[in-house]
Protein backbone atom coordinates (compact mmCIF):
# COMPACT_ATOMS: atom_id res chain seq x y z
CA UNK A 1 0.00 0.00 0.00
CA UNK A 2 1.88 3.02 -1.17
CA UNK A 3 0.91 6.33 0.33
CA UNK A 4 0.88 9.53 -1.58
CA UNK A 5 0.02 12.86 -0.04
CA UNK A 6 -3.41 12.68 -1.60
CA UNK A 7 -4.01 9.32 -0.03
CA UNK A 8 -3.20 10.67 3.40
CA UNK A 9 -5.50 13.64 2.98
CA UNK A 10 -8.34 11.45 1.77
CA UNK A 11 -7.79 9.05 4.61
CA UNK A 12 -7.80 11.82 7.20
CA UNK A 13 -10.89 13.41 5.72
CA UNK A 14 -12.67 10.07 5.75
CA UNK A 15 -11.58 9.47 9.34
CA UNK A 16 -12.81 12.88 10.42
CA UNK A 17 -16.01 12.43 8.50
CA UNK A 18 -16.59 9.02 9.98
CA UNK A 19 -15.93 10.29 13.49
CA UNK A 20 -18.13 13.36 13.11
CA UNK A 21 -20.98 11.47 11.48
CA UNK A 22 -20.82 8.79 14.13
CA UNK A 23 -20.69 11.31 16.92
CA UNK A 24 -23.67 13.22 15.58
CA UNK A 25 -25.82 10.20 14.90
CA UNK A 26 -24.86 8.42 18.07
CA UNK A 27 -26.40 11.33 19.93
CA UNK A 28 -29.56 10.66 17.98
CA UNK A 29 -29.29 6.91 18.63
CA UNK A 30 -28.69 7.49 22.30
CA UNK A 31 -31.70 9.75 22.62
CA UNK A 32 -33.92 7.37 20.71
CA UNK A 33 -32.60 4.39 22.60
CA UNK A 34 -33.02 6.02 25.97
CA UNK A 35 -36.51 7.04 25.00
CA UNK A 36 -37.41 3.49 24.02
CA UNK A 37 -36.06 2.17 27.32
CA UNK A 38 -38.15 4.74 29.14
CA UNK A 39 -41.15 4.16 26.89
CA UNK A 40 -41.07 7.61 25.35
CA UNK A 41 -40.90 8.40 21.63
CA UNK A 42 -37.75 10.52 21.79
CA UNK A 43 -36.88 13.07 19.11
CA UNK A 44 -39.37 12.41 16.32
CA UNK A 45 -40.39 15.78 14.98
CA UNK A 46 -37.52 16.89 12.75
CA UNK A 47 -37.40 14.68 9.72
CA UNK A 48 -38.38 11.02 9.56
CA UNK A 49 -37.84 9.44 12.99
CA UNK A 50 -36.22 12.69 14.03
CA UNK A 51 -33.21 12.00 11.83
CA UNK A 52 -32.66 15.69 11.15
CA UNK A 53 -32.24 16.39 14.84
CA UNK A 54 -28.40 16.16 14.99
CA UNK A 55 -27.66 18.60 12.12
CA UNK A 56 -30.24 21.02 13.48
CA UNK A 57 -28.74 20.77 16.94
CA UNK A 58 -25.36 21.43 15.38
CA UNK A 59 -26.65 24.52 13.62
CA UNK A 60 -28.18 25.74 16.85
CA UNK A 61 -24.95 25.24 18.76
CA UNK A 62 -22.90 26.94 16.07
CA UNK A 63 -25.22 29.92 15.99
CA UNK A 64 -24.71 30.54 19.67
CA UNK A 65 -22.20 32.88 21.16
CA UNK A 66 -19.14 31.34 22.77
CA UNK A 67 -19.02 32.91 26.19
CA UNK A 68 -15.72 32.89 27.99
CA UNK A 69 -16.24 33.51 31.69
CA UNK A 70 -14.40 36.43 33.21
CA UNK A 71 -11.15 35.44 34.84
CA UNK A 72 -10.91 32.24 32.87
CA UNK A 73 -7.69 31.13 31.26
CA UNK A 74 -8.61 32.02 27.70
CA UNK A 75 -6.11 29.91 25.81
CA UNK A 76 -6.71 26.73 27.74
CA UNK A 77 -10.44 27.37 27.71
CA UNK A 78 -10.44 27.39 23.92
CA UNK A 79 -7.88 24.62 23.50
CA UNK A 80 -9.66 22.16 25.79
CA UNK A 81 -12.64 21.27 23.56
CA UNK A 82 -10.36 20.89 20.54
CA UNK A 83 -8.16 18.61 22.57
CA UNK A 84 -11.18 16.55 23.50
CA UNK A 85 -12.04 15.90 19.86
CA UNK A 86 -8.56 15.65 18.37
CA UNK A 87 -7.20 12.38 19.84
CA UNK A 88 -10.37 10.51 19.00
CA UNK A 89 -10.14 11.51 15.36
CA UNK A 90 -6.43 10.78 15.18
CA UNK A 91 -6.96 7.31 16.57
CA UNK A 92 -9.23 6.47 13.66
CA UNK A 93 -6.24 6.58 11.35
CA UNK A 94 -4.90 3.31 12.56
CA UNK A 95 -8.14 1.39 13.12
CA UNK A 96 -8.52 -1.43 10.57
CA UNK A 97 -12.14 -1.72 9.56
CA UNK A 98 -11.38 -4.69 7.37
CA UNK A 99 -8.45 -6.36 5.67
CA UNK A 100 -8.22 -3.50 3.20
CA UNK A 101 -9.97 -0.52 4.77
CA UNK A 102 -7.39 1.08 6.96
CA UNK A 103 -5.92 4.54 6.68
CA UNK A 104 -2.45 3.73 7.92
CA UNK A 105 -1.56 0.51 9.57
CA UNK A 106 1.27 0.62 12.05
CA UNK A 107 3.05 -2.13 13.79
CA UNK A 108 2.56 -0.32 17.09
CA UNK A 109 -1.08 0.62 16.52
CA UNK A 110 -2.12 -0.35 20.04
CA UNK A 111 0.49 1.93 21.52
CA UNK A 112 -0.57 4.82 19.36
CA UNK A 113 -4.22 4.55 20.34
CA UNK A 114 -3.33 4.45 24.00
CA UNK A 115 -1.03 7.40 23.64
CA UNK A 116 -3.81 9.43 22.12
CA UNK A 117 -6.42 8.17 24.56
CA UNK A 118 -4.42 9.40 27.51
CA UNK A 119 -4.36 12.93 26.13
CA UNK A 120 -8.17 12.85 26.22
CA UNK A 121 -8.19 13.26 29.97
CA UNK A 122 -5.94 16.27 29.56
CA UNK A 123 -8.81 17.99 27.84
CA UNK A 124 -10.99 17.51 30.90
CA UNK A 125 -8.29 18.84 33.18
CA UNK A 126 -7.73 21.89 31.00
CA UNK A 127 -11.44 22.56 30.75
CA UNK A 128 -11.98 22.20 34.48
CA UNK A 129 -8.99 24.27 35.39
CA UNK A 130 -9.51 27.08 32.93
CA UNK A 131 -13.24 27.58 33.56
CA UNK A 132 -12.73 29.25 36.93
CA UNK A 133 -15.64 27.35 38.32
CA UNK A 134 -15.53 25.29 41.49
CA UNK A 135 -17.73 22.57 40.12
CA UNK A 136 -15.61 22.29 36.98
CA UNK A 137 -12.47 22.21 39.08
CA UNK A 138 -13.76 19.39 41.25
CA UNK A 139 -14.80 17.53 38.16
CA UNK A 140 -11.38 17.78 36.54
CA UNK A 141 -9.70 16.57 39.71
CA UNK A 142 -12.00 13.59 39.63
CA UNK A 143 -11.22 13.02 35.98
CA UNK A 144 -7.50 12.79 36.70
CA UNK A 145 -7.82 10.20 39.42
CA UNK A 146 -10.27 8.28 37.28
CA UNK A 147 -7.99 8.31 34.26
CA UNK A 148 -5.04 7.12 36.31
CA UNK A 149 -7.04 4.41 37.96
CA UNK A 150 -8.50 2.97 34.79
CA UNK A 151 -5.66 3.21 32.38
CA UNK A 152 -3.67 0.71 34.40
CA UNK A 153 -6.06 -2.28 34.22
CA UNK A 154 -6.87 -1.39 30.65
CA UNK A 155 -3.23 -1.50 29.65
CA UNK A 156 -2.55 -4.68 31.58
CA UNK A 157 -5.46 -6.37 29.84
CA UNK A 158 -4.24 -5.13 26.51
CA UNK A 159 -0.78 -6.50 27.23
CA UNK A 160 -2.42 -9.87 27.86
CA UNK A 161 -3.93 -9.79 24.41
CA UNK A 162 -0.71 -8.53 22.86
CA UNK A 163 1.14 -11.38 24.47
CA UNK A 164 -1.27 -13.89 23.02
CA UNK A 165 -1.07 -12.37 19.57
CA UNK A 166 2.61 -11.72 19.81
CA UNK A 167 2.19 -8.43 18.02
CA UNK A 168 1.18 -4.84 18.61
CA UNK A 169 -0.12 -4.57 15.10
CA UNK A 170 -3.90 -4.29 15.19
CA UNK A 171 -4.29 -6.13 11.90
CA UNK A 172 -2.07 -8.93 13.08
CA UNK A 173 -4.12 -9.24 16.27
CA UNK A 174 -7.26 -9.59 14.18
CA UNK A 175 -5.71 -12.08 11.81
CA UNK A 176 -4.74 -14.26 14.73
CA UNK A 177 -8.42 -14.54 15.61
CA UNK A 178 -9.64 -15.72 12.24
CA UNK A 179 -11.84 -18.77 12.02
CA UNK A 180 -15.15 -19.24 13.76
CA UNK A 181 -16.25 -17.14 16.69
CA UNK A 182 -14.66 -19.70 18.98
CA UNK A 183 -11.28 -18.41 17.91
CA UNK A 184 -11.95 -14.94 19.17
CA UNK A 185 -9.97 -13.77 22.11
CA UNK A 186 -13.00 -13.47 24.31
CA UNK A 187 -13.67 -17.20 24.01
CA UNK A 188 -11.09 -19.39 25.63
CA UNK A 189 -11.64 -22.64 23.74
CA UNK A 190 -10.08 -22.70 20.29
CA UNK A 191 -8.24 -19.41 20.33
CA UNK A 192 -4.51 -19.44 20.61
CA UNK A 193 -4.67 -18.54 24.25
CA UNK A 194 -6.57 -21.46 25.78
CA UNK A 195 -7.01 -19.13 28.70
CA UNK A 196 -10.27 -19.74 30.53
CA UNK A 197 -10.04 -16.30 32.14
CA UNK A 198 -10.37 -14.42 28.86
CA UNK A 199 -14.09 -13.55 29.37
CA UNK A 200 -13.09 -11.85 32.60
CA UNK A 201 -10.42 -9.96 30.72
CA UNK A 202 -13.06 -8.85 28.30
CA UNK A 203 -15.29 -7.61 31.12
CA UNK A 204 -12.38 -5.74 32.69
CA UNK A 205 -11.51 -4.16 29.39
CA UNK A 206 -15.09 -3.20 28.73
CA UNK A 207 -15.50 -1.67 32.20
CA UNK A 208 -12.32 0.29 31.70
CA UNK A 209 -13.56 1.54 28.35
CA UNK A 210 -16.70 2.77 30.06
CA UNK A 211 -14.64 4.56 32.65
CA UNK A 212 -12.12 5.94 30.17
CA UNK A 213 -14.84 7.45 28.03
CA UNK A 214 -16.56 8.98 31.07
CA UNK A 215 -19.77 7.10 30.45
CA UNK A 216 -22.38 6.22 33.03
CA UNK A 217 -22.11 4.59 35.50
CA UNK A 218 -18.65 6.17 35.67
CA UNK A 219 -19.57 9.63 34.46
CA UNK A 220 -18.24 11.26 37.59
CA UNK A 221 -16.65 13.98 35.57
CA UNK A 222 -19.96 15.43 34.58
CA UNK A 223 -22.20 13.96 37.32
CA UNK A 224 -25.08 16.25 36.48
CA UNK A 225 -26.90 15.87 39.77
CA UNK A 226 -23.83 16.73 41.82
CA UNK A 227 -21.48 18.90 39.83
CA UNK A 228 -24.13 20.53 37.64
CA UNK A 229 -22.36 19.64 34.39
CA UNK A 230 -18.84 19.03 35.60
CA UNK A 231 -15.98 20.16 33.43
CA UNK A 232 -18.18 21.66 30.73
CA UNK A 233 -20.35 23.71 33.09
CA UNK A 234 -19.10 26.96 31.61
CA UNK A 235 -19.07 25.84 28.00
CA UNK A 236 -21.78 26.80 25.60
CA UNK A 237 -22.05 26.95 21.88
CA UNK A 238 -19.71 24.77 19.83
CA UNK A 239 -17.29 24.42 22.73
CA UNK A 240 -19.88 22.29 24.39
CA UNK A 241 -20.64 20.68 21.05
CA UNK A 242 -17.05 19.57 20.63
CA UNK A 243 -16.97 18.04 24.08
CA UNK A 244 -20.17 16.26 23.28
CA UNK A 245 -18.92 14.94 19.96
CA UNK A 246 -15.60 14.04 21.52
CA UNK A 247 -17.38 11.88 24.06
CA UNK A 248 -19.12 9.92 21.33
CA UNK A 249 -16.01 9.71 19.16
CA UNK A 250 -14.22 8.26 22.17
CA UNK A 251 -16.97 5.71 22.56
CA UNK A 252 -16.52 4.67 18.96
CA UNK A 253 -12.76 4.32 19.42
CA UNK A 254 -13.24 2.34 22.63
CA UNK A 255 -15.70 0.01 20.95
CA UNK A 256 -13.43 -0.38 17.91
CA UNK A 257 -10.59 -1.38 20.17
CA UNK A 258 -12.74 -3.84 22.08
CA UNK A 259 -13.90 -5.34 18.80
CA UNK A 260 -10.36 -5.71 17.51
CA UNK A 261 -8.82 -7.02 20.68
CA UNK A 262 -11.54 -9.38 21.79
CA UNK A 263 -14.25 -9.88 19.23
CA UNK A 264 -12.19 -10.84 16.20
CA UNK A 265 -12.36 -7.56 14.32
CA UNK A 266 -13.71 -8.06 10.81
CA UNK A 267 -13.85 -11.85 11.08
CA UNK A 268 -17.23 -13.45 10.51
CA UNK A 269 -18.59 -15.38 13.47
CA UNK A 270 -18.90 -18.55 11.39
CA UNK A 271 -16.60 -19.46 8.49
CA UNK A 272 -19.38 -19.98 5.94
CA UNK A 273 -20.57 -16.40 6.54
CA UNK A 274 -17.28 -14.95 5.38
CA UNK A 275 -18.72 -14.16 1.93
CA UNK A 276 -20.17 -11.04 3.56
CA UNK A 277 -17.52 -8.28 3.53
CA UNK A 278 -15.50 -7.96 6.69
CA UNK A 279 -16.39 -4.33 7.17
CA UNK A 280 -20.00 -5.34 7.72
CA UNK A 281 -19.05 -7.65 10.56
CA UNK A 282 -16.77 -5.04 12.02
CA UNK A 283 -19.47 -2.38 12.03
CA UNK A 284 -22.06 -4.84 13.35
CA UNK A 285 -19.89 -5.72 16.31
CA UNK A 286 -18.99 -2.07 16.79
CA UNK A 287 -22.59 -0.87 16.92
CA UNK A 288 -23.69 -3.73 19.11
CA UNK A 289 -21.06 -2.68 21.61
CA UNK A 290 -22.13 0.95 21.35
CA UNK A 291 -25.73 -0.11 21.91
CA UNK A 292 -24.56 -1.84 25.07
CA UNK A 293 -22.90 1.39 26.14
CA UNK A 294 -26.19 3.21 25.74
CA UNK A 295 -28.14 0.42 27.37
CA UNK A 296 -25.86 0.46 30.41
CA UNK A 297 -26.02 4.19 30.73
CA UNK A 298 -29.79 4.22 30.98
CA UNK A 299 -29.97 1.36 33.43
CA UNK A 300 -27.58 2.08 36.26
CA UNK A 301 -27.11 4.82 38.79
CA UNK A 302 -23.76 6.52 39.05
CA UNK A 303 -20.97 5.20 41.22
CA UNK A 304 -19.22 7.29 43.81
CA UNK A 305 -15.68 8.47 43.32
CA UNK A 306 -14.37 6.21 46.04
CA UNK A 307 -16.51 3.34 44.79
CA UNK A 308 -14.95 3.85 41.41
CA UNK A 309 -11.41 3.90 42.74
CA UNK A 310 -12.12 0.90 44.94
CA UNK A 311 -13.39 -0.99 41.94
CA UNK A 312 -10.26 -0.21 40.01
CA UNK A 313 -7.60 -0.72 42.65
CA UNK A 314 -9.20 -3.55 44.58
CA UNK A 315 -10.85 -5.57 41.85
CA UNK A 316 -9.82 -4.70 38.33
CA UNK A 317 -6.08 -4.26 38.80
CA UNK A 318 -5.50 -7.43 40.87
CA UNK A 319 -7.67 -9.48 38.54
CA UNK A 320 -6.01 -8.17 35.41
CA UNK A 321 -2.56 -8.68 36.89
CA UNK A 322 -3.43 -12.22 37.82
CA UNK A 323 -4.75 -12.77 34.36
CA UNK A 324 -1.55 -11.45 32.85
CA UNK A 325 0.59 -13.83 34.89
CA UNK A 326 -1.75 -16.71 34.17
CA UNK A 327 -1.61 -16.06 30.45
CA UNK A 328 2.15 -15.74 30.52
CA UNK A 329 2.34 -19.07 32.30
CA UNK A 330 0.03 -20.72 29.81
CA UNK A 331 1.99 -19.37 26.87
CA UNK A 332 5.16 -20.72 28.39
CA UNK A 333 3.65 -24.16 28.99
CA UNK A 334 2.01 -24.64 25.58
Amino acid sequence: MSLTLLNVIVAVVIAIGFAALNAAYLVWAERRGAARIQRRPGPNINGPWGLLQPPLDGIKLMAKQLIIPGGADKILFIVAPVLAMFPAIMSFVTIPFSETIVAKNMNVGVLMIFAFASTGSMALVFAGWSSRNKYAMMSSVRAVSQAVAYEIPMLITTITVVMIAGSMDLMEIVRQQSGSFLHWNIFPLLGNSHNILMPISFLIFFTCTLAETNRAPFDLGEAESELVAGFHTEYGSMGFGLFFMGEYANIVIGSCLTTILFLGGWNAPLPFLSFIPGVFWFLLKLYLLIATFIWIRWTFPRTTIYGLLNLSWKILIPLSLFNLLFTAGLLKVF
Partner: protein
Protein backbone atom coordinates in the same frame (compact mmCIF):
# COMPACT_ATOMS: atom_id res chain seq x y z
CA UNK B 1 -11.29 -14.34 49.85
CA UNK B 2 -14.59 -16.12 49.38
CA UNK B 3 -16.57 -13.05 50.31
CA UNK B 4 -14.43 -11.00 47.95
CA UNK B 5 -15.33 -13.18 45.00
CA UNK B 6 -18.95 -13.77 45.98
CA UNK B 7 -19.39 -10.01 46.30
CA UNK B 8 -18.06 -9.52 42.79
CA UNK B 9 -20.24 -12.34 41.50
CA UNK B 10 -23.45 -11.13 43.13
CA UNK B 11 -22.71 -7.58 42.11
CA UNK B 12 -22.34 -8.65 38.50
CA UNK B 13 -25.52 -10.70 38.64
CA UNK B 14 -27.48 -7.74 40.04
CA UNK B 15 -26.19 -5.60 37.19
CA UNK B 16 -27.32 -8.15 34.62
CA UNK B 17 -30.76 -8.38 36.23
CA UNK B 18 -31.09 -4.61 35.95
CA UNK B 19 -30.06 -4.72 32.32
CA UNK B 20 -32.60 -7.45 31.70
CA UNK B 21 -35.36 -5.21 32.97
CA UNK B 22 -34.44 -2.26 30.80
CA UNK B 23 -34.10 -4.66 27.87
CA UNK B 24 -37.68 -5.81 28.38
CA UNK B 25 -38.88 -2.24 28.67
CA UNK B 26 -37.18 -1.42 25.39
CA UNK B 27 -39.69 -3.51 23.45
CA UNK B 28 -42.81 -2.26 25.20
CA UNK B 29 -44.89 0.34 23.39
CA UNK B 30 -44.46 3.98 24.25
CA UNK B 31 -46.98 5.57 26.57
CA UNK B 32 -46.49 9.21 25.67
CA UNK B 33 -49.35 11.25 24.29
CA UNK B 34 -47.64 13.54 21.81
CA UNK B 35 -49.56 16.54 22.98
CA UNK B 36 -50.10 19.06 20.24
CA UNK B 37 -50.87 16.26 17.75
CA UNK B 38 -53.05 14.21 20.05
CA UNK B 39 -55.09 15.48 22.93
CA UNK B 40 -56.89 13.80 25.75
CA UNK B 41 -60.47 14.51 26.62
CA UNK B 42 -60.78 16.03 30.01
CA UNK B 43 -62.74 14.08 32.59
CA UNK B 44 -66.19 15.27 33.68
CA UNK B 45 -65.02 16.81 36.89
CA UNK B 46 -62.04 18.58 35.40
CA UNK B 47 -61.72 22.03 36.87
CA UNK B 48 -60.81 24.67 34.38
CA UNK B 49 -61.65 28.29 34.92
CA UNK B 50 -65.29 29.05 35.67
CA UNK B 51 -67.84 29.77 33.00
CA UNK B 52 -71.37 31.14 33.23
CA UNK B 53 -74.27 28.81 32.60
CA UNK B 54 -77.01 30.11 30.35
CA UNK B 55 -80.73 29.57 30.67
CA UNK B 56 -83.11 28.73 27.82
CA UNK B 57 -83.12 32.27 26.55
CA UNK B 58 -79.37 32.34 26.24
CA UNK B 59 -79.01 34.71 29.16
CA UNK B 60 -76.89 34.01 32.19
CA UNK B 61 -78.51 32.13 35.04
CA UNK B 62 -76.82 34.45 37.46
CA UNK B 63 -78.97 36.57 39.77
CA UNK B 64 -76.09 38.73 40.99
CA UNK B 65 -76.28 37.61 44.59
CA UNK B 66 -72.53 38.06 44.98
CA UNK B 67 -71.97 34.86 46.95
CA UNK B 68 -69.21 33.71 44.62
CA UNK B 69 -67.45 37.01 44.99
CA UNK B 70 -67.51 36.68 48.74
CA UNK B 71 -66.47 33.04 48.75
CA UNK B 72 -63.47 33.60 46.53
CA UNK B 73 -60.27 33.40 48.55
CA UNK B 74 -58.22 35.36 46.08
CA UNK B 75 -60.73 38.08 45.21
CA UNK B 76 -60.61 37.40 41.51
CA UNK B 77 -64.30 37.83 40.74
CA UNK B 78 -65.82 41.23 40.02
CA UNK B 79 -69.48 41.34 39.12
CA UNK B 80 -72.16 43.92 38.74
CA UNK B 81 -75.83 43.84 37.93
CA UNK B 82 -78.81 46.08 37.56
CA UNK B 83 -82.49 45.74 38.05
CA UNK B 84 -84.37 46.68 34.90
CA UNK B 85 -87.80 48.29 35.20
CA UNK B 86 -90.56 45.83 35.73
CA UNK B 87 -88.34 42.77 36.23
CA UNK B 88 -88.22 40.76 39.40
CA UNK B 89 -84.66 39.52 39.23
CA UNK B 90 -81.46 41.42 38.85
CA UNK B 91 -79.71 41.06 35.52
CA UNK B 92 -75.99 40.51 35.23
CA UNK B 93 -74.19 43.30 33.44
CA UNK B 94 -70.57 42.50 34.20
CA UNK B 95 -68.71 39.39 35.31
CA UNK B 96 -64.94 39.64 35.26
CA UNK B 97 -62.75 36.74 36.27
CA UNK B 98 -59.16 37.63 36.98
CA UNK B 99 -57.65 34.28 36.09
CA UNK B 100 -54.15 35.42 36.96
CA UNK B 101 -55.07 35.15 40.61
CA UNK B 102 -57.51 32.25 40.49
CA UNK B 103 -56.33 29.09 42.19
CA UNK B 104 -59.11 26.88 40.80
CA UNK B 105 -60.38 25.94 44.24
CA UNK B 106 -63.99 25.82 43.13
CA UNK B 107 -65.38 27.83 46.04
CA UNK B 108 -67.39 29.99 43.66
CA UNK B 109 -69.09 27.06 41.96
CA UNK B 110 -69.81 25.51 45.31
CA UNK B 111 -71.25 28.64 46.81
CA UNK B 112 -73.60 29.29 43.90
CA UNK B 113 -77.18 28.39 44.72
CA UNK B 114 -78.61 29.28 41.33
CA UNK B 115 -76.72 26.89 39.04
CA UNK B 116 -75.06 29.80 37.34
CA UNK B 117 -71.43 28.74 37.32
CA UNK B 118 -69.62 25.72 35.96
CA UNK B 119 -66.06 24.66 35.31
CA UNK B 120 -64.93 24.86 31.74
CA UNK B 121 -62.84 22.09 30.25
CA UNK B 122 -60.40 24.49 28.74
CA UNK B 123 -56.75 23.90 29.51
CA UNK B 124 -54.97 25.22 26.43
CA UNK B 125 -54.36 28.59 27.97
CA UNK B 126 -51.18 30.30 26.98
CA UNK B 127 -50.31 33.88 26.35
CA UNK B 128 -47.57 36.36 26.89
CA UNK B 129 -49.93 39.11 27.95
CA UNK B 130 -51.49 39.40 31.33
CA UNK B 131 -54.67 40.96 29.93
CA UNK B 132 -55.49 37.76 28.10
CA UNK B 133 -56.26 36.11 31.40
CA UNK B 134 -58.73 38.64 32.63
CA UNK B 135 -61.83 37.02 31.29
CA UNK B 136 -65.10 38.79 30.66
CA UNK B 137 -67.33 35.80 31.25
CA UNK B 138 -70.48 37.57 30.04
CA UNK B 139 -68.82 38.29 26.74
CA UNK B 140 -67.64 34.71 26.49
CA UNK B 141 -71.20 33.59 27.07
CA UNK B 142 -72.45 35.81 24.27
CA UNK B 143 -69.67 34.64 21.97
CA UNK B 144 -70.63 31.07 22.59
CA UNK B 145 -74.14 31.74 21.35
CA UNK B 146 -73.07 33.28 18.09
Amino acid sequence: MVTYFSEIYHGLISLFIGMGITFKEFFKPTVTVSYPYETLTMCDRYRGHVELIENEEGKANCVVCGLCQRACPSACITLAGEKPEGEKKKVLTKYILDFTRCSLCGSCVESCNFNALEFSKEYNLASTRKEDFIFDLLKRLEDRNI
